[in-house]
Symmetry: D3
Subunit: 252 residues, 6 copies
């Protein structure tokens, strides 16, 4: 069930049977010579939208701009600063919690988001902790590549040259979903170099075409399809476990 | 041209021929008994995506969560506070300006966003004004219903009961674009009441089903189609004029 | 009744008979070759002080610095950024609400303030909306030129060359109140040009003497007197209606 | 010369002969049974306006709301939080500095403002210090009761019962300037108690009528007149010294 | 009792017998040719740690970075901006108050901290004042040089050349506590000059070796020992009085 | 070399031979029935102070309060919110960078700090990235337990019951450094449970004595000694590599 294609009354009914929601979250940033700028927010969106076709789960609109300051040296990247990102995640969560959602799972598509999302969670929990009261909600960060089975499948599909940015797995996912937007280019070197992540100019100097450790030429729509199907299944499992988790009653 | 389906190199090439970009911006909020929660961000997205099919213009990802605090009394609404919204718009603009975009048009789908977007523009301009330097970019806010010809067409289509929230025109646009998500319900009264806009509880008390002054039953996909085609054409005109506008050289 | 010339006990007594207060709000900014820098905060102050002479209404001190970043290219302009303005309005409202004021009307003298004031209102309401509780106060923005009868009178007085900045109507009001500070200068052209509003350098290049669309030579103290009397009467009416407005009781 | 009764061109001319400006700053807060709520911002305004009658000095509009959180237990008090106050002072200074003002003297009327104003100065200086560049302006805080001769005169006028809040000296100043607003009441005890300053409820419990250590019954308009004349003279001296102070050239 | 060398259970037991805690707070900043960079946070730490040896008082970890923007022209200085400092003090206090501490004494070692610490206290109290509720805690700022007997002793030890920065008294305290880190250098002039405090470059130009009005050559470990012993005794007295102080019950 | 026991001139000399500095950073938070509240900031401090005895490296004062909101349910914990922590780290880095430090290594002692520290780094880098300029500094986060050899040694020392909070390895380190503060208590169960980390009340309910997965009874001062020596050596290696790392020159 997609929240943005529902009415408020339909969401009110959903809340009668479940208090769990999925927020696809990513980034809009360069993905090498052939990767799409939207890769990191489209991957979790693709997976989440696929998953809700066969399960009674609710998907929020996609949080499509994340923390990508290091990619700003490449045209098309749009980034929030961590402080802005934390504030925005805060308002999303406060909105959803006001409606009664108690389990909010962020399905993430960008490694560079992880620290800021976790900091945002702590910022939200801290309001309750300083006030010595329960938060009223539980937050979970789940990278799509950490869903059940995905790591193993990606290693089988791409035994070398997977890398960490502009990876063949994420590009394969977008190839399957957007077959009209498959791009091609030469890669030199075939597998890109690694390095530390700092400010945008430093990043571009270390990674002239934008890739980190990856060989995207291995991506195919078929591999993407397999990844999406497995990830969609993994997401439903993850949500099921998260929804069933109970809150302890303590002396706090 | 859709930025999120492009590579960074393609955006680099676009910047050689144009310094203008469109940001569809809206809100995710209740739209009465039959309007979709995503209406206000989907309308500008639908129009902008349509417009770029026949013109060499660039559309950024959609800014899908806006200032909708007054709708938080209805399930599914997600809102940023104005201060968060201003910060986020700021980072979007700073990102785009860093790449060399000089004309940034926000195509807006939510009346409640207008004040905060204009405040965000002033916040950005103020950095330059305090520093006594040029901003380097011009920002324009354009509500889709103010595009050339739309007001007249909507008055023809909906001579009564258009209203200001959950209007038949915006619902018609989403009906055309998402025909599988057309909802139906009874309306009582047929045309909803008006009133001041304050906090969420006050709003819900005044507007029990979420509409303001509107009768959405008049929406049809066909009317939506006509609106989209006219708006897409109007957007291209608007962008053309905005792109050609020159910056004065003064003694500031 | 002027709050700043009252004791706390007198305000305590006023609160027994009314929960409404007026905050004159404006800006300190250039007003062309002959307009006073204080024009935009003095106009609502003049009108509000006049109104309280014949009605039992309460006027707070004047909020005299607003959002005027675009005028910073002209000496004497003092501006808050929107974010600062929003924070300050927030603390004014929280202070007044703590005393039990439930209807707070901002009588505004500067068009450039409108977006930020409305954003400030939303920021305040959002605290209640996220917390699912009533705000406890209602806020109203009223530009003095929108008060009953003022638009018509100004059009009669200044059929051409009224414009939108350094207008003859606002200059007339200050001429009546500060007859020792009437300035004169030549205008070239007689009616100033219009244009978009962006950062300060751009503004000054477009509007070299600071006016927008106006011919202030038409201002006279007599015209100002007529405007003040009508506006004072309109303000009392507006307050009366606002004070009598009741809060709905809903299911929010 | 009053900035708000001047045109931008007049301020431009003033900047040709001086780079110094005075900002009257105070607070709007309870001042005991007979003191006016505006006392703390009206005193520096009265003194500064008096001073400019006989000297070529420039006075900005009055910053009339300060840090008075501890007085919020009494109706009519309006307070900024320190963080808001610091932000607002920052924007005032940045505005004035953008025009070329290099010496900005805040003539203060409220002891409770001192810490926040000094913190605001440090916040402004820190921008330059972190960037290893000159600030371009010097800021000075001057309480009106610390001007040359005032302390001695007040001790002569009020040998006992001067106290620190709702003092006879500040009330005398407002009595002289606003003779139509002189209030009377009984005081019990005649000289109020002292105590620590914490949150508003604590303050009101310790100081039920709002005074701290003072006996305002001793105030007269004549004493106020003497104070204003001496303070106006002291302000001109202070400004003269401040204006002539030169900036060192070092290896910083 | 040192909090950082205790377990949470031991602090829980302490709270059964006392609700008071000491926070040593200072700054890490240049202290002239021979003063240690840590002088201002080590002095209150040394005194507080000494005091708890003979009294049942609780000392928190030391808040070691304060507001020292003006010293940033000298290597090794680390400064928070006032806004950051206020936020951090706020979180310390909220943490301690959440455990039930009701009297929090900040033992300060840096004059430049005073304004920001007091602003931080007001920021914290304001939360309660706006909400019309008790704060639940009382905050006290105490400079170690203001403790009982210290002023007199320092005047005896250093009748001339005490000054206000890199003073012989504070350097003596660190000499006693860190005898292996006693430094020596020539001073020229023997007693340093005074001047206003502004941004870092201005400060360094006025005070080329970092001292203000002081002759640190007079410091000896023995004098430091006498100061520490007297200050430790004064701190225990101060805490005793602060702990016994009761909260008034008023009509707030 | 310890910065706080040095003069500014000594740091100026150090900067002639190195541009690298270590900031020990941790948290002050409950560490189970026997762990000291200061454990997480004392461990990196102990290791860094040990390392500088035999190498020409510079250690800043310890950043002793971190992000520990989840431990606020236990007396003695002091926590910054992530937003405050990010702001404070920002000012530390800006201070050090202003002096010319180009490599800043944060030696961390608290897992809960990692996300916020990384977010703080991105916040700092983003300033440069938005401005299209080099940052001028490189930041590195290094947990002491990730230093060369520590993981292996800890697994040898504590093959079971190491856990992730109040671990025997960190407690051993403090036992070696603070032998007078070794505490004892019974543990039930001997090895504590694991669980998700959310707000403070939730945490305390899941972990009634504060431990997560650990059996601290295995800690001894001797094991702590071995850990400190190996970590000190590892730190020097890490710094050596970090200092020698060069910045790429690119087209960014």
């Amino acid at each position: 069930m997609l929240l943005h294609l529902s009415t408020w009354a339909e969401i009110g009914e959903f809340l009668q049977r479940s208090r769990t929601i999925v927020v696809p979250i990513g980034s809009n940033e360069q993905h090498g010579p052939t990767g799409l700028l939207g890769t990191d927010w489209m991957c979790p969106e693709i997976i989440a939208h696929e998953a809700q076709k066969s399960a009674d789960i609710l998907i929020s609109p996609t949080f499509n701009i994340g923390m990508a300051q290091h990619h700003l040296g490449f045209p098309g990247t749009i980034s929030l600063r961590p402080s802005t990102f934390i504030a925005a995640i805060g308002d999303w969560v406060r909105s959803l919690a006001a409606h009664g959602f108690e389990k909010i799972l962020f399905l993430n598509g960008h490694g560079g988001n992880v620290a800021s999302i976790e900091a945002a969670f702590s910022e939200l929990y801290a309001e309750a902790s300083f006030a010595r009261r329960p938060a009223g909600f539980a937050l979970k960060l789940c990278n799509w590549w950490d869903l059940e089975g995905i790591g193993e499948l990606a290693r089988e599909q791409f035994p070398t040259g997977h890398g960490v940015h502009a990876t063949p797995s994420e590009i394969a996912v977008t190839q399957w979903a957007y077959p009209d937007s498959i791009k091609s280019a030469g890669y030199s070197p075939q597998i890109a170099a690694w390095g530390p992540i700092r400010e945008a100019q430093d990043f571009r100097a270390r990674h002239p075409d934008g890739r980190m450790g990856s060989d995207p030429a291995q991506a195919t729509p078929e591999k993407g399809h397999a990844l999406v199907m497995m990830a969609a299944k993994g997401l439903v499992q993850e949500l099921d476990a998260f929804s069933r988790e109970s809150t302890p009653h303590g002396n706090g």
